[in-house]
Subunit: 220 residues, 2 copies
């Protein structure tokens, strides 16, 4: 702060405050609920979208930056049995920029969707960049393909013993609150075994990506 | 800026900059894509959540503050016929704080979901406060019931001629980009005729709200 001592009281105060104000402006929103979720929104550190024509890369990007999605299942509930049902689930494929592409879930038999999956494990997961700051930042409507979203169909299965640690690490790093969820809910780790992938990231309709292309993606 | 002129160059610069930095810190994110969508996030003007025990009020609140959701339908697509499908759709029940509760959509026959609905109009829409700044602000995980979300089941139907203007006004005020979507896509206005509502806004499981309770809500 050399050079601040000379001048009027206002000038001295401003000279001392200015670096603080700049620091506040650029600092991520720690402690405001965002950082704990390794939340890029608050930190404004969302990595750039991959080239839109690289649909498999875009699909992996969306899976990694989203920490929740909507899951469609066939309902087993009274009055709506056999009809399509949708619910919100937290998910994670790993730490930011280090995702495996596998959407892991932390589920309880008490959840409506889980009751449905017990009878019929087919499900479709959809995730959208509308969940992040991306679409608002560029002024893309949530239904515009430019506000990229993906649709992953497959089956939801409980992860095997050998995969529990990976699932747990992937989820707890992005969703630390999960560590304190009550054990009476009998939480278990699950994942979506993907059979079909559609990517809507540009005009011209959905792009089909195979699971093989999706998992063969290598990030820089 | 009286009083800034005296002192070292550093002090003068800081004195001039300080008010600017403060202004930047406190100003809402205007012009960054948010305002156009009557977006409360950018303006930080999200109204307070109604009391959580008033489930019908909470349901109406979620419908009004969200401008997109995920819709589950039964797939008619090759390879996944009969399985549950999920997609992202923009929606609106009216202007901010003046919603009717009716989720209106702007759909095209080119959309996968619309192809599904032609064969089977049953659908479930889910919307979450995770789409807004609410959950991050309070540090609620997207799967926590405290990060309130709703599930509305019913049928998606094209709106009647008499309802087109209401649907159009509701949608275009929240989604002005829609006005310029290409007519070659044969856009039409639709809505969800709601038969079942579940509200997850607190511990203890989903609360059931009847369509009657939902539509009878009166806001202050």
């Amino acid at each position: 702060m050399a050079g601040c001592a000379r001048g009027s009281a206002r000038a001295v105060l401003a000279c001392l405050l200015a670096p603080v104000l700049v620091a506040l402006l650029v600092a991520p929103a720690r402690g405001r609920g965002g950082r704990e979720h390794a939340d890029w929104d608050a930190a404004k550190l969302l990595p750039p979208l991959p080239p839109r024509e690289k649909a498999a890369l875009v699909a992996r990007f969306v899976t990694n930056v989203c920490d929740w999605g909507a899951l469609a299942t066939i309902s087993t509930q009274e009055g709506v049995r056999g009809r399509p049902f949708a619910d919100v689930l937290s998910l994670s494929d790993g730490p930011p920029s280090k995702g495996s592409g596998v959407p892991y879930f932390y589920l309880s038999p008490l959840q409506q969707s889980v009751g449905n999956l017990k009878e019929n494990p087919y499900a479709t997961l959809t995730m959208s960049l509308a969940e992040t700051s991306f679409c608002k930042k560029y002024g893309f409507d949530p239904q515009s393909p430019l506000c990229a979203h993906t649709i992953l169909s497959g089956t939801v299965v409980k992860v095997s013993e050998t995969e529990v640690d990976i699932a747990k690490n992937s989820l707890f790093i992005r969703h630390p609150e999960m560590k304190s969820w009550p054990s009476s809910h009998n939480w278990f780790f699950a994942k979506l075994n993907i059979t079909n992938i559609w990517v809507l990231d540009y005009f011209g309709g959905p792009k089909i990506v195979t699971p093989e292309e999706y998992y063969n993606v290598t990030f820089q």
